[in-house]
């Protein structure tokens, strides 16, 4: 099974994307999409530096869905936060600044996903990652409580990402 279909989740996502783009569920497109996705999965196996497949794809898919739900809530909340800051500046003290978060993620895919999350959330921005020290630098628009921000990044995202990618 693993030799035949190395990345079932990637295969499923690509097939779904094909069907979405063509807006159809016809058998012809289903087969064509599945075939293209299958070829891409084998190409990706050649590109993947770790040269291995990951275990328990369906459990990791569950973790990914939970992470997505968390992120959606956070995005909505921080949109409201940033809107408040923009529309109503100067009502309360606010400091923007850089924050160093010690982070225990080494997988490039996990870090890329974290970059997508941080960028998609207004109010937090990715400012750099030091692979030697394992320190992630963020710029935060409303940096009141540094410890609370570190807590959010580590507990909410890092734990889930490790569940998914490691």
């Amino acid at each position: 099974m693993r030799r035949w279909l190395p990345f079932p989740l990637l295969w499923l996502s690509l097939t779904t994307l094909w069907l979405l783009l063509n807006q159809t569920l016809s058998v012809g497109h289903l087969l064509l999409g599945a075939l293209i996705a299958w070829v891409v999965c084998h190409v990706y196996r050649r590109l993947d530096a770790r040269r291995g497949t990951r275990s328990r794809p369906w459990r990791r898919a569950g973790a990914a869905v939970r992470l997505f739900a968390d992120v959606a809530v956070d995005i909505a909340r921080s949109n409201a936060g940033v809107a408040r800051i923009v529309l109503d500046p100067g009502t309360r003290a606010r400091t923007a600044g850089f924050l160093d978060v010690p982070i225990d993620l080494h997988d490039p895919l996990a870090l890329a996903t974290l970059a997508c999350i941080v960028t998609a959330t207004p109010g937090t921005a990715w400012a750099g990652y030091d692979a030697d020290r394992c320190v992630l630098t963020l710029h935060i628009l409303d940096l009141i409580d540094e410890a609370a921000w570190i807590q959010v990044i580590k507990d909410r995202y890092e734990t889930r990402l490790r569940e998914i990618f490691e």
Partner: protein, 119 residues
Amino acid sequence: MTQATEPSLAVAVVTAVLVLAGATLTLIGAVGLLRLKTFYERVHAPTMGSTLGSGCVLIASIVLFSALESRPVLHEIAIGVFLTFTTPVTFMLLMRAALQRDRFGEGARGREPPDGKDH
């Protein structure tokens, strides 16, 4: 793909609310881009348009065209996916460039740029 029929009132209301919400969020983001003082603060504001703002408009599009064509129209999801995957690239590039400039370049007078005009 005929769109001869009118959408029902409920669909029209939901679509209008979502489109207006998305447009308002994007507008607030654009105002923020004008109002905030430094480069690093400014990069946060337009994110509102590229996340929840575009999300609302995409959901409105899904609702309206699914109702008009009486079948699920879902390819807007792909737009959301590609937006989410591609924005970090430009974004990190800008951020790294600004940091580089402030550390080593002309504006190396502390971490904030000297004034807001040059970006």
